[in-house]
């Protein structure tokens, strides 16, 4: 990122599903206020929202950092959850380890990671079983 990038930090609590998505909503509002192209805002917001939901469902919360400069938006989601055993499998549409309870809440259809890949220009997943997961989402800014 360039030196004059904006940086935002969010702590995502893991114990309250109704609060999942609050950080993504705040980021979306900020991006809108910055006058970023609506399609770019939507892409980043959807990817980040799915990531934030995953953090709450699977990893008992975590932390999100977002950097914005003239060219791109970079979001880093870091958790100390169980990690992803098989990333290739996790990327498949419809594959999910979410509980029935989570499905009852409207998530866990196995579309989270595929959606994150679909809406971001770059998706990097760095995960170690038993240690945690770092997801980096990059969306290029259209001018």
């Amino acid at each position: 990122m360039s030196e004059n990038s904006l940086h935002y930090h969010y702590v995502v609590p893991g114990d309250d599903f109704t609060r999942a998505g609050i950080a993504s909503s705040a980021v979306k509002k900020t991006l809108k206020q910055l006058g970023i192209y609506p399609e770019t805002v939507r892409k980043l917001s959807i990817s980040l929202f799915e990531g934030e939901i995953n953090m709450v469902i699977h990893a008992d919360g975590g932390e999100i950092d977002v950097w914005i400069d003239d060219e791109k938006i970079v979001a880093e989601l870091v958790d100390k959850g169980p990690g992803i055993e098989n990333i290739e499998l996790a990327m498949q549409e419809g594959w999910s380890t979410a509980s029935e309870q989570v499905r009852g809440l409207g998530f866990g259809a196995g579309m989270g990671l595929p959606n994150m890949k679909k809406y971001s220009d770059e998706l990097i997943i760095d995960s170690t079983v038993g240690v945690g997961t770092k997801v980096t989402l990059i969306v290029n800014i259209v001018k």
Partner: protein, 117 residues
């Protein structure tokens, strides 16, 4: 079609968004699974859902949707209505079931916002 038309067609009770009644709706999505909703971007869309929690509103907000209709007579709590007000989204509830609600809107000319491949 406008939000006021949706209310009429579904015989729905408007809970939030009197000021949005003249907002145009161009497409619709019916689902209880939010990731399925997030998978396809639609233009000026209405979300028809039986999922009664704040995530329904948050999902609609992420997608820039203009209206959420809760089916099967489900009445959202104040936390959900507050989230809708915050995001400028109209909310209504209808006693119709999901299939019927979607069918009535489709029959009236609203489509899914994407073509069959």
């Amino acid at each position: 079609m406008f939000i006021k038309d949706i209310q009429k067609i579904l015989d729905a009770q408007l809970l939030v968004g009197e000021e949005f009644m003249d907002t145009e709706v161009r497409s619709a999505c019916g689902s209880d699974m939010m990731s399925d909703v997030l998978a396809f971007v639609k233009d000026q869309a209405v979300l028809i859902t039986g999922l009664l929690n704040q995530q329904a509103i948050r999902t609609a907000a992420m997608m820039d949707m203009v209206c959420v209709v809760f089916v099967r007579g489900k009445t959202p709590g104040e936390d959900i209505l507050e989230a809708a007000r915050d995001n400028g989204i109209a909310v209504m509830t209808t006693t119709h079931r999901m299939f019927t609600a979607c069918g009535l809107l489709f029959e009236a000319g609203l489509n899914g916002g994407c073509h069959i491949k």
